[in-house]
């Protein structure tokens, strides 16, 4: 059989707080058309046959929309392809004989659950702190009653593209989740529906962010380079403005 032979160095950790280490594994017959996660499936099938514990890693949609996959591949969140999630990356960027290091997202706010799986419920709590619009229940309003200019709608969409994967945290030298918070705050701040709760939202989402143990943004710009949805750090600038405005007004 043809296909690539690879050496994988994978972080293995039995459970939360347990000691872990990078362990080496060999895989064969890897087709360049496989996705990165399919390559890990090959490894796991092999491990199961040997009676070993398969490598735990998060995934769901496997098409770059759910934000579950969360690998740091050779020191880069979601691997070397810009604008893509780990699941969306193909093996064609690798060559026979390559060694690939695979680690979990690392941050105080993302404790390791097992192997490559981390607990990202901190993001849920940040959302619960204000990442929503409170509406009166009732029939849907007439669409034209809330005019939204085209540019604003587009800009809001650019922020709404965030899938909450947490790669920004993984890539940030300070493990800050500011790109995530800024995308969520900006998405609503740009739309009239988000207006009434704008100040409270910025303050309480940031407060929750800080409580979760994420670091401070020092404008390193690493996050925007790895964001699979290409959210830009101008989004963080908007959050900084929103926060300043809210601190004065609210």
């Amino acid at each position: 059989m043809s296909g690539m032979k690879l050496t994988l160095k994978i972080w293995r950790q039995k459970g939360p707080g347990a000691p872990g280490e990078l362990r080496s594994y060999g895989v064969q017959d890897i087709s360049p058309d496989m996705s990165f996660l399919e390559m890990l499936d090959v490894l796991n099938e092999q491990l199961i046959k040997l009676g070993e514990d398969p490598v735990a890693f998060d995934h769901d949609c496997r098409e770059g929309i759910c934000g579950m996959c969360s690998l740091v591949i050779d020191g880069r969140a979601h691997g070397k392809d810009s604008g893509k999630t780990s699941c969306d990356m193909r093996m064609r960027g690798y060559q026979d004989g390559d060694t690939i290091a695979i680690e979990p997202f690392r941050a105080k706010g993302f404790p390791v659950v097992k192997d490559l799986v981390v607990d990202r419920s901190a993001f849920d709590r940040i959302m619960q702190a204000g990442g929503y619009v409170s509406v009166n229940a009732g029939s849907a309003p007439e669409a034209h009653s809330l005019p939204v200019p085209y540019e604003k709608a587009e800009a809001a969409m650019d922020h709404a593209a965030c899938i909450g994967c947490g790669a920004c945290v993984a890539a940030c030298p300070n493990a800050s989740a500011m790109l995530f918070v800024s995308a969520k705050v900006s998405q609503l701040a740009l739309l009239p529906q988000g207006g009434p709760e704008r100040a409270r939202r910025a303050l309480s989402m940031l407060e929750q962010h800080d409580k979760e143990g994420f670091g401070n943004c020092t404008n390193e710009g690493e996050c925007e380079k790895v964001c699979p949805k290409s959210v830009k750090i101008s989004s963080i600038a908007r959050l900084n403005r929103e926060f300043l405005r809210a601190s004065v007004l609210y």
Partner: protein, 221 residues
Amino acid sequence: MIALMNALIRYATSSIGKKQIVGLTGLMLCGFLAGHLAGNFLLYKGEGVFNAYAQFLTSNPLLPYIELALLGVFMTHIGFALWVTWEDLLARPERYAVRRNAGGRTIGSSTMIYTGALTLAFLLFHVTVFKLSGEAEQHVRGLFGVVIDCFKSGAWVAFYAAALLGLGVHLSHGVQSAFQTFGVNHEKLTPGIKAAGLLFAAAMAVCFGMIPVLTKMGRIG
């Protein structure tokens, strides 16, 4: 009143608030540097002019208050910068075994705490020599004389050059970063702000750094 205090505390202890305090004080220090440099240029005018300027500054009755304010700005900048940096270290208790930058970081952005510390070490020496130097030394040729004497030493000149290079690197990230921290980021403006920040950083390092070098070469004095 209590509500205002609470709001201030909430601001100053939040991640963005802390950063904005570092940014604001950093920009204030940049303003101070520019003013300080303007004064330094009078060294090129010779002993008389420079000493008269020094005399003018020290005879200002408000000077102690201005100095106190400046000290406050420095302490605030350093205090909040250390706080931010310390929290950032704690935010990633377990490091990556393999770490590759994705292309956002610069030499300046990744060394802020070191270039800041170098600047601080420099400031302590600088203030000791030029401000707290004995009255007796100043009586001979005034502050001008103190400057000229100091920069006869090659070691001092080298230390100054290194420290000012550090300051330049600090500002190469710092200036544009402070704008981002205050939310100024715009497709049209940001490239200009970044270029201006670099220019300012280079100008500070070169213009301050030239004085010890030219003095050593005998061009001033």
